[in-house]
Every structure is written in C-alpha cells, then in structure tokens.
Point group: C2
Chain length 280, copies 2
C-alpha cells in the first residue's frame, strides 16, 4: 500500500515501538499527531513529541480531533491489555459506537483487531502498518549483531519455518523452538515468552538436553495475520529469555517481524552471545 | 503381524499397562513369562502371575532365561525412566552387549527404543505391540462412557487431528488442545500432562476463556511412531487433568492409543463428567 504524505496519526499503546515509530515519523517531515491510550502508553516516553491522551471511552472525541486536523492516515501500534467492555466508561460522543465494539469484543483477539481496523476504515481512514511507515523497525535480512547462525543452525531454522508454514491453515503457530535435532516447543495461546520459559524449565530439569550452540527460536507471522495491526515482535526481553534458556539464537522472517531499534538489539545480542537473524 | 502361539514374554516397566496386559495374556492360555524391570515395575501388582525381576545390567541373564524357556515372542510395555548409561552396572554376561547400547543411548528416546527393538530382533526374537496381544487395551471407536462429543466438539476434534497430520513430517505433535474455536496448545517435548497443565493455567489466569463444554484434547500417534514399543497412552490421570483444566473431553485415534481398562476409564469419565472417544 502506498503511504500517503498527509498528516499521520499514531494511536499508541504500550511498549518501545510507539515512541520509536513516532520518532521516525517525526523525522519524515510530515504532520504527526500522537494519540496515547490511557493506561497503556506512557506519554513521557515520547520525548519532544507532543502527545494527546485518550481513554478508550473517548473514541468519539478522538475521531473528532482526527477529522478537525484533516488526518486520513493512521497507525495503531503498541500493546494494549485486552480491555473489559464494562471498563470503557464511554463519553456521550462515544456511545453510538458501542454496538460496533460489542460485536468486536465477542471473539478472539484477531477478531477484535479486525473490528477496530474496520471501524476506522468504514469512517474513511486509511490504516497503515508500522512497517509501511518505518521498515527500519523490522528485522532485515542477515544478522543484527556479530553472530550469525551456523549451517547446522540454519538446517534447524529451515525445518522450523517449514513447520510453521504447515501450521498456517490452522491459524496457529507463530513461533517454535528447535534443539537436539527436533522441534521441542510450539507456540499456541501461551505466547512466545511462556514457550521459551517452558523450554528453559525442561532443560533445567534435565528432561531436555540443549547442547551449547544448539537451540534456536523461529518466529514468523501467521498466514493471514493482519500485519497492519498485529505484526509479530521481539524485543530485548526475548533475547534475554532465549539466552537464559540456553538457546543459541533467534531467526525471524525478514521484514515481517518488528524488532524496534536494530542497532540496540544487535548490541544486546552481542553482549548475550546470541544471534538474531532475518531470513526469507 | 500374526501373533505366534508359543510362549510369550512380557518385559514390564512401570504403570498400569504391564499388569493389565499380563492378565489378558494369561487368560489366552499360552505360556507366559513376565520379566519385571527393577526400579520401574512393581512385582506386587501382577497378583497371581509369577514375575521374575531383572536389573537393566542383567540383560545377558534375561536373554539366557528367554532362550532356555524357548520363548521367541515378546512385548515391551510400561514406563521406564530413561536410564543413565553409567547406572547399568552390567553383569559379566551383559558386558558384550554394551557397545550396542552405547550407540542406542546417543540419540533421542525414539532412537533408544528402536535400538532396543533391533537388539532383540537381531537375536531372533519377534517383538510385538501390546495392541496385537490385547487390542482391548486400546481405545475402540465411539465413547467409553455415557458422554460423547457434540457436533461442535467433533468439528474441533476434526480440526485437531488434521493439524496433527500436518505436523507428521516434522516428527512432533502427538497431542493438542482446542477451545474457543481455535488451537490453544500443541504438545512437543513437554508431554501431554504438562500441556494440559499449561491450558489450565492460561484459563485460571484469565488469558484463555474456556466455556463449559468447549475444550477438547486430541491425541494420536506420530507418523512413523513404532506402535510396538512406543504407543501413545492415556490413563486416569489424563482424565483428571482435563477435567481440572475445564475441558469437555478427549478424542483419540481408535485402536492406536492405549487406555488400559476401558470399563474403568469409562466409569471415571462419567464421574468426572467428561467424554473419552475413539475416532477414526
């Protein structure tokens, strides 16, 4: 999708990615408006960039503000604790949107996210992915730090990605851990960090043998995952977790996983003695 | 494989299955010899049936005893904590077999099991699966108790088995849990019980919503799994675990998963209000 050059709104949840994206967008010389979601985004982390805070129940006010500023392009980025419908405390200008969100809330996270995207699109906004605005926040081809995967590790990585592809029709399997010549963990509802912890526990209890330089984490988007609002991501904690679990490194689908500041993550990888590599 | 009618040896590890198999084999009116592996099998659980105990390091003695009794057919059944090679304490008559087992020990559990089967086959024995001797120890088609899967649950079950089949080329994925219209857990190295506990934790922490009557466990052999020595199994603990996790029931590949005493398991399923069903 081509990126329009009018003003851009960033609707920001928690974590490192929203401030990083805002910084890059600000440097692109286009109008920028940052809407920070109360309870998720920390306005102090955006430095010089002006931030306006909204509660989820102030959606009507947010729409009015976007329109008044003639903003048609927006990015939704950052973590958001799944809100309870009852905690929305909608303002009067938001009440009319409740039926839309009541429907969106009745389903999984994917369903909710699709509902949010549709909500903005039906009102004339274009929803962009962070990778369209700032591809430098995704993992590139090759290693981020000094270490790269060995040929033996690349074999495990290839097998891991082939397995994730085989799972694609089943809407599951965004990540897996391979070690000891086999797949030792597959992620489903528990999330990547919990899966890595499981591998660490299996290893420390002796039920799983991970030789030095053996284990790898592979991570990729699910087929059909909407990369505009639901791009897989790793960060410093992921690196620390895999190092603690005794794994050798992480392989990611190049351009399709958010990593934030590549240089910072590469330096952390070097400190921890692990590799982070984008592969196609 | 046709079952020869000469005397049969049961080489027994731990758990409910070895005594159950011994009881059935004894009723079949053929000669029976039960070799209980020290530290795994409990001779007291075999009731009236005579049992001879062997340490792993007494393999030479076991082979001599089998030959003296003119036994050509054997079944290996029951759990065995993965022994450390150093703890074998081999007797003189066993020393010559050490190179074979040193090789078998250098690999995963599958590799070790294949090595054990080959060891006996190379010495003229026929290794049978418990399902050949006693198909009544496996799950039949249909429900074991009063409850059966609903049409909605059958849809989840079909999706679960399709997913396990898709994983077949990757030598992983013997079980999965489906709930809330999706796959919520896939088993790899952690084992079925640990996977069920994970689902229970996700549900109790509110990260996963399992409506009453929603969740199902599916379990099947891996492609290429040697059902003679490595048949998947469930037991009373599996039922208690899924009930505790709030799941509605268990679906198993009919004839290809050990359940032990079908009547007992069906009654427990009824007590717990869950279903256990064999499907093809």
């Amino acid at each position: 999708m081509a990126v329009a050059r009018g003003p851009l709104a960033i609707i920001a949840g928690g974590g490192d990615f929203p401030p990083a994206l805002a910084e890059i967008a600000a440097r692109q010389g286009r109008g920028l408006f940052v809407a920070a979601l109360d309870g998720a985004a920390d306005p102090a982390r955006f430095g010089e960039i002006e931030v306006t805070s909204y509660r989820l129940g102030q959606l009507g006010r947010l729409l009015d503000d976007l329109r008044r500023r003639e903003i048609a392009d927006l990015v939704l980025i950052g973590s958001l604790p799944r809100p309870s419908f009852g905690a929305l405390r909608p303002e009067a200008s938001t009440l009319k949107y409740l039926p839309h969100f009541a429907r969106a809330f009745q389903g999984g996270d994917d369903h909710l996210l699709r509902g949010v995207v549709r909500f903005f699109e039906e009102r004339g906004f274009r929803v962009h992915g962070p990778a369209e605005i700032a591809p430098e926040l995704t993992v590139p081809m090759g290693a981020l730090g000094r270490k790269a995967a060995t040929p033996a590790q690349h074999e495990l990585i290839a097998r891991g990605f082939a397995m994730l592809s085989a799972l694609a029709p089943f809407d599951v399997g965004q990540a897996a851990v391979l070690a000891d010549h086999r797949i030792v963990a597959i992620e489903a509802a528990e999330g990547t960090d919990a899966m890595i912890r499981r591998v660490a526990e299996l290893a420390s209890s002796g039920r799983l043998k991970i030789a030095k330089g053996d284990g790898v984490l592979v991570k990729a988007p699910k087929e059909g995952q909407d990369l505009r609002v639901d791009m897989p991501a790793i960060g410093p904690d992921t690196l620390r977790n895999i190092a603690e679990a005794g794994l050798a490194g992480i392989a990611l689908r190049a351009g399709r996983v958010l990593v934030g500041d590549r240089g910072k993550l590469g330096r952390l990888a070097d400190q921890l003695g692990v590799f982070v590599e984008g592969v196609i």
